[in-house]
């Protein structure tokens, strides 16, 4: 379910926005309420809630409401999925380059 392309789509889209990345950054240092998340951002609380909803839909952030405060925290599994996608592609490419290097070295030896 974590490698579901639709979910991956939501995650990368969520990470595409600077404000949302700032929120993720803040949350990486520990849980926070909606207002705490909003504090450093130059936008209305409402806008922050909308960003937060996206982050939650993407699976990157999990929240729970106790009383009137909603506490947010990072979901490292989701982060790992995005990380994994990138890593995979990079490795495929780099292995390719290695093989190419080996091939060139070999043909050079034989010349």
């Amino acid at each position: 379910m974590l490698h579901d392309p639709a979910q991956l789509d939501l995650m990368f889209q969520a990470l595409a926005d600077p404000a949302r990345r700032q929120m993720v950054d803040r949350l990486s240092r520990g849980p926070a309420s909606v207002s705490q998340l909003a504090e450093p951002l130059a936008m209305s609380l409402s806008a922050v809630v909308q960003h937060l909803n996206l982050l939650e839909a993407s699976g990157l952030v999990r929240t729970q409401k106790v009383g009137r405060v909603r506490t947010c925290q990072i979901e490292p599994k989701a982060l790992r999925a995005a990380e994994h996608w990138i890593n995979e592609r990079r490795l495929v490419w780099e292995r390719r380059l290695d093989r190419l290097g080996d091939f060139l070295a070999e043909t050079k030896d034989k010349s």
Copy 2:
């Protein structure tokens, strides 16, 4: 220069689109021309060029034109930068959880 926030912004934004991720995926398996990139995509060549320009501006893809064909390839350094951003945040969070776990285990011992 790779951790320049503006560049990071462009990279995540570039990765947010499914078509562009598909292009990166294709390129991870080896270089390709614009038409080759376009082939599996259900959109005009022109649209593909526009996506490609974004990918190039983000630093994720490098291209060079020889004669009339533009050959594209992945820039693994850029991929690594995006990967690194995510990894960093995830690790900070997970280290936090570990410390919290240690703390809880300790206080439990003392009870």
